[in-house]
């Protein structure tokens, strides 16, 4: 820390100069933003450039061009499918990062067992989880498939799927633990490797669909060229479902991966689940 100035006596907080500057700078930032905002189109103005330039095509032609009644899905998965690929890559990057930081250090030659050191299990939770998890997982698939027609899609479904996995982990503990004594509940849960495989396969599937479109003579991610039928909108709809599924895998896998790696990190490094020791800082 060669560039750090010496610490003023007794400061647990930021140095005085920084506090003073900060206290002045952030109201200034707020004011600056607001001054700029006064010149923006009125909130809710139907004649604003944002509402009149690009969006009419998405609204009026979207369903016909992409086969998705949910315009957000149409834009997300088709018009701006490349953004969505990037988005999947972002969350994959986070999962990969947590794996690197928390679960692959030392001389470890394989991924560690997922799960926390302690479980929050009780008979009530156990029973509730047994009932809820299948519903959650199934609902996740529903949200994925129904993303064409209602709020939903790969991300939402993937997150739900991941939460189902997390719920099991919270209640039933590590993946390698024996089932609760006297219980016939099988320990179920994705291993760390399983999560990684899901996430990677999702990305690979997404890129694969894009590359397949190139193989049939279109641009990257131009689903319209895929030989899935004669109606281009329908072909696009099918392909969109494919990439939503790919996103579903990536998000579901990564959410579970994030939870597992962080809990492994806390388990192995002995970080307490509660707040830091000592008084409020």
């Amino acid at each position: 820390m060669g560039s750090t100035p010496p610490r003023p006596a007794g400061g647990e907080r930021a140095p005085r100069l920084r506090r003073v500057l900060g206290a002045a700078a952030f109201p200034a930032l707020f004011l600056g933003l607001v001054v700029g905002m006064t010149e923006l189109p009125e909130f809710g103005d139907p004649a604003s450039p944002a509402s009149t330039h690009l969006s009419p095509r998405f609204i009026e032609e979207g369903a016909a061009e992409t086969g998705a009644a949910n315009m957000v899905t149409a834009v997300l998965a088709d018009y701006r499918g490349y953004d969505t690929l990037g988005e999947a890559a972002v969350i994959f990057a986070a999962g990969l990062g947590c794996l690197v930081i928390l679960a692959s250090g030392g001389a470890r030659r394989d991924l560690p067992v997922a799960g926390m050191s302690n479980r929050f299990g009780s008979i009530v939770l156990d029973a509730a989880t047994r009932t809820l998890v299948p519903v959650v997982l199934l609902f996740a698939v529903y949200v994925l498939i129904h993303g064409h027609y209602s709020p939903g899609g790969g991300f939402q479904g993937g997150v739900l799927f991941g939460s189902g996995l997390i719920m099991m982990r919270l209640v039933w503990g590590p993946a390698d633990a024996s089932p609760r004594p006297g219980s016939d509940v099988p320990t179920f849960g994705l291993s760390l490797r399983g999560s990684l495989v899901l996430a990677s396969v999702g990305i690979l599937a997404y890129v694969g669909i894009g590359l397949a479109a190139m193989a049939f003579g279109g641009e990257f991610l131009n689903y319209g060229t895929l030989p899935l039928g004669s109606d281009p909108a329908h072909v696009r709809e099918l392909a969109t479902l494919g990439i939503e599924a790919a996103v579903f895998l990536t998000v579901g896998g990564t959410v579970s991966l994030l939870f597992d790696t962080i809990s492994i990190g806390m388990r192995e490094n002995g970080v307490p689940l509660g707040s830091e020791r000592g008084p409020r800082e």
């Binding site: 060669g2 560039s3 600056g32 700029g36 905002m37 006064t38 010149e39 923006l40 604003s48 450039p49 944002a50 009149t52 330039h53 690009l54 998405f58 088709d78 018009y79 701006r80 499918g81 490349y82 953004d83 690929l85 990037g86 988005e87 890559a89 972002v90 994959f92 990057a93 986070a94 990969l96 990062g97 794996l99 690197v100 930081i101 692959s104 250090g105 001389a107 470890r108 030659r109 394989d110 991924l111 490797r193 990684l196 495989v197 996430a199 990677s200 396969v201 999702g202 990305i203 690979l204 890129v207 590359l211 190139m214 279109g218 641009e219 990257f220 991610l221 131009n222 689903y223 060229t225």
Partner: protein, 510 residues
């Protein structure tokens, strides 16, 4: 080829980034060969694109078959393909160097195939992000790929453990703030124009009458990207990050990360927003901040004893020079800025690989640790010497030519900012002389300081630099010399594209 390559350029690294961790987790074997093959393939695609663009003009590529502004377009001209070649080329070296694992103190350490595969995946993600930034023609898409590259970079930085995690966290805070500022600015632009496509933006902006809002947008975007580009005084994240990053990643991150953000600044402020009044003012401020950064970075580099920290401050100085060129915006200045991106990337990558290797021998990376190494590994250290001389600006190394262009541009620009940047660039060369020659003197002419334990056990076993680091060091040095001599593509291909692409920048023929 022209209609396939742009897609491959962005698809290959993403596919590879998902494939390598998968392979490592399933096979438990080293992923060195597939990773290197992927990087070489990406480089080949970038080179082919560069050649194709040079021969046939810029390429517009509508992803998903949706033309802009409705879909996302890629735009590959001389400038972006040059950056793509730079990024993917440096990535090849970094991938080679990744066979060298090191822990937080820099000491060499064996790495398991699993971890290696994950880190190789992270490097490919970083490459994917940077190539995405370079190729895209969409301001929001740029944000997405900025975040991909950032998250991958945090991962690579933090992979050293210990102090590097703190550096990574601070980098993450700064980087996320930068991304959010940029995105807020994009929001303003979207509210004002209703579009995200750069060409569409450029054509719709002149009819926008909201000056204050436009100014806020330009400033937000400029500040956000300047944080990523480590423009003085927004460079706070840089020194610790570069110092604590494990060596293979440091060689890559120090070489290209900040430069791609500088490229984005050039693209947006120099081309898309060039017509706005606020853009012009911001660019002029950038010249002055660049001047301050050149001087401050140089002075602080002189003050360091640790070689990697010295290199980090030298990077701040170099980024100042690049942003001076971006700020001036003339053809000469942009040539100089681009050339300096290339020259500095090659040299800094080379030096970080070398410095990391020396640090891995134990005992920190004080200048003293470098004493007498030249006699033990003459080739490697001759290569490092070439890199250092290039940064000082000694001909015929590449760094000389970038300084030449930037000095010419300063004279052509005239005025107080021209004089100030002229003086600052000369001064930075002198400061670089001071801090690099101190190292070179130790390397070549000073006797090694014998550690007592080492004297009894004889010379440490093994080469001074492990092979995964030594080969990139030598290869980069060769490239530094070649770049200096065969610099013509910069003029022949990059600039004409830039000028025809933007009639806004007044051409200043030398």
């Amino acid at each position: 080829m022209r209609d396939v390559l742009p897609g491959l350029l962005v698809a290959l690294p993403l596919a590879g980034a998902a494939f390598l961790p998968l392979l490592a987790a399933l096979s438990r074997r080293t992923t060195r060969v597939p990773a290197l093959a992927l990087h070489v393939a990406i480089l080949a695609a970038a080179l082919a694109l560069f050649g194709s663009v040079a021969a046939g003009g810029p390429i517009r590529y509508a992803l998903g078959g949706w033309p802009g502004p409705w879909g996302i377009e890629l735009w590959l001209d001389g400038l972006s393909t040059l950056m793509a070649v730079l990024v993917s080329g440096m990535a090849c070296f970094a991938s080679f160097a990744q066979a060298f694992g090191s822990n937080e103190d820099g000491a060499a350490r064996g790495s398991t195939p699993l971890r290696e595969g994950l880190l190789r995946g992270a490097l490919l993600l970083l490459v994917a992000g940077l190539l995405g930034i370079v190729a895209t023609r969409d301001v929001f898409n740029l944000f997405v790929f900025l975040e991909i590259s950032s998250l991958a970079a945090y991962t690579l930085v933090a992979s050293g453990g210990g102090r590097s995690t703190v550096a990574a966290f601070r980098y993450l805070l700064a980087g996320t703030a930068a991304g959010s500022l940029y995105l807020f600015g994009v929001g303003f632009l979207y509210a004002l124009t209703g579009t995200l496509n750069m060409d569409d933006l450029a054509s719709r902006l002149p009819s926008v009458e909201a000056d204050a809002a436009l100014t806020v947008a330009v400033v937000l975007i400029a500040v956000g990207l300047s944080i990523k580009a480590a423009l003085f005084p927004l460079h706070g994240w840089l020194p610790d990050t570069y110092v604590y990053t494990p060596t293979p990643a440091a060689g890559f991150i120090a070489a290209v990360m900040a430069k791609v953000s500088a490229y984005a600044l050039l693209r947006l402020l120099g081309e898309v927003l060039a017509g706005t009044e606020a853009g012009a003012v911001v660019l002029e401020v950038m010249i002055w901040l660049g001047v301050a950064g050149v001087v401050a970075g140089g002075v602080l580099a002189v003050a360091q004893r640790a070689v990697t920290r010295m290199l980090a401050w030298s990077s701040i100085s170099a980024m100042g020079m690049i942003l001076i060129g971006v700020g001036m915006g003339s053809a000469l200045a942009i040539t100089g800025a681009l050339f300096h991106m290339a020259a500095h990337a090659l040299a800094k990558g080379c030096l970080f690989f070398g410095a990391g290797g020396v640090r891995a021998r134990g005992g920190g990376d004080d200048v003293e640790r470098w004493a007498g190494l030249g006699a033990r590994a003459p080739w490697t250290f001759a290569a490092l010497t070439v890199a250092a001389l290039s940064l000082i600006g000694i001909p015929p190394a590449a760094g000389f030519f970038s300084k030449y262009y930037l000095l010419s541009a300063s004279i052509a620009a005239g005025g107080p900012e021209g004089i100030a940047s002229f003086a600052a660039i000369i001064l930075s060369s002198l400061l670089a002389t001071v801090y690099f020659l101190r190292v070179l003197e130790a390397v070549w002419f000073r006797a090694p300081a014998e550690a007592p334990d080492r004297a009894s056990s004889g010379e440490p076993a093994g080469p001074v630099l492990p092979r995964p680091l030594a080969l990139p060091v030598v290869g980069l040095a060769v490239l530094i010399l070649l770049t200096g001599i065969f610099a013509r593509p910069f003029e022949r291909h990059v600039l004409p594209d830039w000028e025809t692409g933007t009639a806004r920048i007044a051409a200043e023929a030398p």
